[in-house]
């Protein structure tokens, strides 16, 4: 039988490193981090834009610098170039590396596997399959890890924060984007970003959607439907950005319960999954927040895991959190009944822009009400909702009312 770790953390990105630091602070001894890439640090390691560090270090930092700094705090071993291939009951996981397949064991296993963008195919975009179709995440790795250009005349699909970071990445490769394409009437990211695009001479087409990819060996153009009109944009690459999603396949193939439609695991206010030997944390539970926010969340969940280690078992009973259809996800997705300190912060996402009161109810009893201007792909935090009177018979529901 292999060694029994106290905690194994899958993913050495912001959330995983946050959990590790909190466990270290609490004096937990045997912890192992597992990272599939050859270097730890997660997605920020591929980023050179200065949108990291404000929460943790109170100053803007570039992604890779920020990740390097977080790594200096972690003294636990990190096994890199190691891929988890299955999650099993009783705290066992199978991993693959150059050594082949191994089984590892821990009292608690933390899933901090992060997110990626939704690429071309699941978006069902019409057209052919030439070279030159990628995501902003792939672009960052080409440019920053390899010094390679995946295109000279790219079009960027989407206007999330990551879409504007793609302009930044392209600029450092000496490439100007041909255009940005946004389905909605305004950019998904802050309006200020438009100014950034304008400064770099990248036209932003709102109320427009990509309707076809043309090319033979490589992309030659895309067609867009812009305000009811068909247009052709010559380009040699298409960068699909945002619409973040987690990697849920391992979880879907495991014994862990998951959420219909989104694929996320069920997890409670402390991150514990349906099998309380497993925890979920970071962007995979709420695609996608900023790296700093995930690190802070990792610190918080790490503290809860450290507190749960001595007591061993967690009550398996939980109630699920229901919500209106306009709400895409709620994190947590379930609530476990606790004796003490039962204030829960919900992190929700909406399907489309809406302004109104976000209300949390237990049956007819109102637990929370606050007015928000909700935008898609932005986090909406419902802070410290009091759960102390929630029982196994409760029906928790989040709605948005005008």
């Amino acid at each position: 039988m292999s060694k029994l770790y106290d905690v194994i953390i899958i993913g050495a990105g912001p959330a995983g490193l946050g959990v590790a630091r909190a466990l270290q602070h609490a004096g937990v001894k045997d912890v192992l981090l597992i990272e599939r890439e050859s270097q730890p640090g997660g997605v920020p390691k591929h980023c050179r834009h200065p949108t990291f560090g404000m929460l943790t270090f109170l100053r803007p930092m570039k992604g890779h610098t920020w990740a390097e700094k977080l790594l200096t705090y972690v003294q636990y071993p990190i096994r890199t170039a190691t891929t988890v291939t299955s999650l099993l009951p009783d705290g066992q996981i199978e991993v693959s590396s150059d050594a082949g397949l191994e089984t590892l064991r821990a009292r608690k296993i933390v899933l901090a596997t992060g997110v990626r963008e939704t690429p071309r195919h699941p978006r069902l975009v019409s057209g052919v399959r030439p070279q030159g179709v990628l995501t902003a995440g792939a672009l960052q790795q080409f440019v920053y890890l390899r010094g390679l250009k995946p295109g000279d005349h790219p079009v960027i699909i989407g206007t999330e924060l990551v879409s504007f970071s793609a302009i930044w990445t392209l600029k450092s490769a000496g490439v100007r984007a041909v255009a940005m394409i946004e389905e909605g009437p305004r950019p998904t990211a802050w309006r200020l970003c438009l100014l950034f695009a304008r400064l770099l001479n990248v036209p932003v087409h709102c109320n427009s959607r990509i309707s076809r990819i043309n090319g033979s060996e490589r992309v030659e153009s895309i067609e867009i439907l812009s305000k009811g009109e068909h247009k052709t944009l010559p380009c040699d690459s298409v960068i699909f950005t945002g619409k973040f999603t987690g990697e849920y396949t391992l979880i879907r193939k495991s014994h862990l319960a998951s959420d219909f439609g989104t694929g996320r695991p069920l997890f409670d206010q402390n991150g514990a999954c349906s099998d309380p030997g497993y925890y979920a944390v970071g962007n995979m539970t709420h695609p996608a927040d900023m790296g700093d926010q995930c690190y802070q969340e990792g610190l918080r969940i790490g503290g809860r895991i450290a507190a749960a280690l001595p007591s061993g078992s967690i009550a398996p009973e939980f109630i699920s959190v229901q919500h209106d259809d306009i709400i895409r996800i709620s994190a947590p997705s379930i609530v476990r009944l606790m004796d003490t300190d039962n204030k829960t912060t919900f992190n929700i996402r909406v399907q489309r822009p809406v302004t109104g009161y976000v209300v949390v109810r237990d049956g007819s009893k109102e637990l929370y009400r606050r007015r928000y201007r909700c935008m898609p792909e932005r986090r909406i935090l419902l802070k410290d909702v009091d759960m102390s009177n929630v029982t196994a018979q409760s029906a928790l529901h989040i709605s948005i009312e005008s």
């Binding site: 990626r116 995440g137 790795q141 390899r146 390679l148 250009k149 000496g174 490589r218």
Partner: protein
């Protein structure tokens, strides 16, 4: 540029699954054989995209050449696949009737299957179907079970056929489109986009371009009318939602939309059947894909809970007739293999044997027969999700593609193989790299590094200065 001329006994035009199987057969007969492929790699045309099913022939026209080739191909695949490390997942299939009209058509399907010699086919009740397929939507009226249908790797199989031929002295050329054909003194001279080649016998397996190749020297006896099929591949966990291949009751026009596991562990939905004139461009269409998803969800409601990994379209070389269009021209030392539609993956080995018989019976001796007594059986890399793969073995160099668990050793082995890939698509089909749900987000930069400048058309346009 001066063209060189090379001499062979047999030239096979087209590196699709049929061309590869025919190439194998003639090299095993002892012929000095050359395969010419106009694409950058084998499987660049119709064989690139299909449903990857090994068919029993239960629903093929009784007495047809198609049926004979399918059943011979099916038997030969089963006999040789283990020797070449090629997978087979014996799922069986169920033809599902969703209304009274379809229910009424089932006895005829069973009787046709029996007439075709597929004797284990039987009609079953809705209850039995729900026992086998608990996730199917409500409304199943009954069905027909076809135990012998299975799923194979549509790319490793033809590659194995080609590789075995190469091991026995056969040669192949990629990027080599045939542009002219001259027959003089019992010898064909084929001019191509590269050199020219001579042979005593030419076998046209040019798929969607088959009639164009015949037109180089005669009026073709058939006309290719490409039929496009669009497919969706769902993420691997979706494959747990079915056990057998779920087939609709066919109509006169089409076999309809099916659900199937793939050998790579995914779930497949499709195809559409759309006539088009273009022979090379197979594009997907958002509305059609959405309509396919809606059809899939009507059969399998839980499909709504799974994400799409890939969309693709294939062009089947249909003709004005359903039957295969195989024409031997003994006087002219030429054989045309045309109109091999979606059943070609199953039938390829059978077609190859049929051509051997045709040649031996109908043609004068054009080369010295020297049948290989102890064939070399190349072992293909195992890509099936249902078999142990390289990532489970030590010394694999680490996982490069985390969706499909492709190792660095597998990628390097593809380049060191007897038939190394000629393009990114060829590398994908040989290894599964970049085929997963992230569409290459993580591994494409590793692939660009490993590929280097080996391909003309790569993932990158240049280095950052």
């Amino acid at each position: 540029m001066e063209q060189k001329t090379h001499d062979f006994d047999v030239i096979v035009i087209g590196g699709g699954v049929v061309g590869c199987a025919v190439f194998r057969r003639f090299t095993l007969m002892g012929a000095r054989t050359l395969l010419l492929e106009k694409g950058e790699d084998i499987l660049s045309g119709a064989s690139k995209a299909n449903s990857a099913i090994l068919h029993t022939g239960f629903d093929a026209p009784p007495g047809s050449l198609e049926l004979a080739c399918m059943q011979a191909g099916y038997a030969e695949y089963k006999a040789i696949h283990q020797k070449m490390n090629l997978p087979l997942l014996e799922t069986g299939a169920i033809v599902v009737a969703w209304n009274d009209e379809q229910l009424a058509a089932l006895p005829e399907i069973v009787s046709q299957a029996h007439q075709n010699g597929v004797s284990d086919v039987r009609q079953v009740s809705a209850e039995e179907i729900y026992q086998r397929e608990p996730h199917l939507a409500a409304g199943v009226m009954g069905g027909v079970i076809v135990p012998g249908e299975g799923i194979i790797d549509p790319w490793s199989s033809p590659l194995a056929y080609l590789t075995q031929g190469v091991k026995h002295g056969g040669e192949y050329r990629f990027n080599c489109a045939v542009t002219g054909a001259q027959f003089n003194d019992g010898q064909w001279t084929l001019s191509t986009s590269a050199d020219s080649y001579q042979a005593a016998l030419v076998i046209n397996c040019a798929g969607n371009h088959g009639d164009e190749i015949d037109a180089l020297w005669r009026i073709p006896e058939f006309e290719i009318r490409p039929r496009k099929g669009q497919f969706l591949v769902f993420d691997k966990p979706a494959s747990t939602q079915i056990n057998a291949i779920i087939l609709p009751v066919p109509t006169a026009r089409s076999k309809g939309v099916l659900l199937s596991k793939t050998i790579f562990g995914n779930l497949l939905l499709g195809p559409t059947a759309e006539e088009q004139t273009c022979r090379d461009r197979a594009d997907v269409n958002e509305e059609m894909l959405k309509s396919l998803i809606a059809q899939g969800q009507r059969m399998l409601p839980s499909l709504a809970d799974y994400s799409v990994t890939a969309t693709y379209a294939g062009l089947r070389p249909a003709t004005e007739q359903k039957e295969y269009r195989i024409f031997p021209y003994p006087e002219e030392q030429w054989i045309t293999v045309g109109g091999i539609r979606s059943t070609g993956l199953t039938a390829a080995l059978g077609i190859a044997s049929h051509l051997e018989t045709l040649y031996l019976q109908r043609f004068a001796a054009l080369f010295t027969l020297a049948p290989v007594k102890n064939p070399h059986w190349p072992k293909m890399p195992m890509l099936s999700d249902y078999e142990p793969r390289d990532y489970t073995c030590p010394g694999n160099g680490g996982v490069v593609c985390h969706c499909e668990w492709v190792t660095r050793r597998e990628l390097e082995a593809a380049f060191d193989s007897d038939v190394p890939p000629g393009c990114i698509g060829g590398l994908r089909r040989r290894t599964r790299v970049m085929m997963g749900r992230c569409n290459g987000f993580f591994c494409s930069n590793h692939v660009a590094e490993i590929v280097g400048d080996r391909f003309n058309n790569t993932l990158i346009t240049g280095q950052i200065k």
